[in-house]
């Protein structure tokens, strides 16, 4: 659980990259993502990895990105094997597998450097419906809380003799009922309480709530946009050649 939480949950870190406007971070991620889809030679993939690596170092998320990448390496391995079986040349299979890792890294990098707060602002900026944005925010906010609940529930049930590791596959699946039911029930109770609090704080009065902050691009954001667009266009030209 400790490892999961460090890999997926946004933690407060400062780096030059973190301080950029979240829309810029999104742009960079999309650029890397697109290049990952287009890369089809070893050189191109290597360039891509080099960029991702340097950005990861710059934004100080290297270790945590490493964990996500390690996890995705399993799937990359499967892609590699399937391609070899399909009689693709070895080099190509490596490239395809690496592309997958690059895609995962680009996406994960965005989420690791963007706080849920910033994600919410980006969603609002895209004019997504208020309820969807709120549902997303609430989910991200309470997932860690529910994880803690799950740990408490497991402690309580283990103390009643529940042994999750024993038994055949069917028995083991059934053993999750005493964990899932209380978890779901707490989630339902929690949503009820949240609903009360929301109503009491005038949620839903208008479809266009105002906001405390607004996103505004600063000079460093403009600089990064310009630089990244330039590099992106150059890379696209190179990759397509």
């Amino acid at each position: 659980m400790y490892w999961i939480s460090t890999g997926l949950i946004f933690r407060r870190v400062t780096s030059p990259f973190h301080e950029l406007d979240p829309r810029v971070k999104l742009l960079v991620s999309i650029e890397l993502f697109s290049l990952a889809i287009m890369a089809d030679t070893v050189v191109e993939v290597s360039l891509l990895f080099a960029s991702i690596l340097s950005l990861a170092v710059l934004s100080r998320i290297l270790r945590r990105l490493g964990r996500t990448v390690a996890f995705s390496a399993v799937f990359a391995g499967i892609i590699f094997v399937l391609n070899v079986i399909a009689s693709r040349p070895l080099i190509e299979s490596v490239v395809l597998a690496s592309r997958f890792i690059a895609i995962v890294a680009a996406t994960s990098g965005f989420f690791l450097t963007t706080s849920p707060d910033e994600l919410e602002y980006v969603m609002r900026w895209f004019r997504l419906p208020r309820d969807i944005v709120f549902a997303f925010v609430t989910a991200v906010r309470f997932v860690p809380v529910m994880m803690m609940d799950a740990l408490q529930i497991m402690d309580a049930q283990k103390s009643r003799g529940l042994e999750l590791e024993k038994g055949n596959i069917f028995a083991r699946i059934r053993k999750f009922v005493p964990i899932l039911v209380p978890l779901v029930v707490s989630a339902v109770v929690r949503s009820g309480e949240l609903a009360e609090a929301m109503e009491s704080r005038a949620y839903g009065v208008t479809n266009k709530p105002t906001s405390l902050f607004e996103l505004s691009l600063r000079s460093r954001d403009i600089f990064v946009i310009a630089l990244s667009l330039l590099l992106f266009i150059l890379s696209v030209l190179y990759f397509s050649a």
Binding site: Y2, S159, R160, G161, E163, V181, P182, S186
Partner: protein
């Protein structure tokens, strides 16, 4: 029966939550563990049934080393009832809920049936036998949680913050139940920050702070030691405070309101 020998516990993240804790709990004892939030009370409790294993030192429960025995094995002897009833109840009926622990621990059908009937009657849950646990009231749910653990008759039972969210009537019932358990020779350990409740039990008291045991003694000694209480960030029971402020002071602090009444009346008649 339960023995902690120089136990320390450090989290994966690096924080030390228990530091050099040594403690022995005998059968039939009533023990309260008090201390501010974060003092390590619940962490200590979780070491008694193997949920947590010490990073240093040994915990033995009936001669079983908790590092080697499973949580299920240890739970047979030490039953922990956690604070949040909603994090435990999941069955379709109260009956199923009580039987859950018994079956997990491998008891025979006839024993299970006997223990179920005992638990239902001892905890006055007979009329809820076929009711879904989630439909019970807060106080009844708590009672059910305790029933589920006592069903398999562990020698020791730990109640983690049993009075949180309970009203006065429920707390009185809880006190009665604890006393009944003691008369049956079971050890009861209460982890609580409800000082008035602890005082009314007049137990052996362990004061914890910063992962260490600061003091271990009878309620009278512990709760009159103002320096100790301040250090542990624990307040004095109101009757103790009254006993210290009143003039002349009684020899022993008042255990109950009736003690206070009799002393005052006696003093005034002079």
């Amino acid at each position: 029966m339960i023995k902690f020998e120089s136990v320390s516990f450090t989290h994966l993240g690096g924080t030390t939550v228990l530091s050099d804790v040594s403690l022995e709990i005998a059968p039939g004892e009533l023990l309260a563990i008090v201390g501010a939030n974060g003092a390590g009370k619940t962490t200590l409790a979780k070491h008694t049934n193997g949920l947590l294993k010490p990073t240093r030192g040994i915990v033995t429960v009936f001669d079983l080393d908790t590092r080697k025995a499973s949580v299920a094995e240890l739970s047979r002897h030490v039953g922990i009832v956690f604070q949040n009833a909603d994090h435990q109840l999941f069955s379709e009926t109260v009956e199923d809920e009580i039987v859950f622990g018994l079956r997990n621990l491998g008891f025979d059908d006839d024993v299970v049936k006997k223990r179920l009937e005992w638990a239902l009657s001892f905890f006055e849950l007979n009329r809820y036998r076929n009711v879904a646990p989630l439909l019970l009231s807060g106080g009844e749910k708590k009672r059910l949680c305790i029933a589920c653990v006592l069903a398999w008759d562990p020698e020791a039972i730990i109640l983690d913050e049993p009075t949180v969210g309970q009203d006065y009537a429920q707390k009185e019932k809880l006190e009665q139940m604890i006393r009944m358990l003691l008369t049956r020779g079971r050890s009861v350990i209460v982890v609580s920050h409800d000082i008035e409740f602890v005082w009314s039990l007049q137990p052996r008291v362990i004061v914890m702070a910063g992962g260490r045991i600061l003091a271990d003694g009878l309620a009278d000694q512990i709760f009159t030691n103002t320096d100790l209480l301040e250090k542990a960030n624990v307040r004095r029971p109101h009757l103790v405070e009254l006993s210290e402020l009143i003039d002349p002071k009684p020899e022993k602090p008042f255990h109950t309101v009736h003690d206070a009444l009799h002393w005052i009346v006696h003093q005034l008649r002079r």
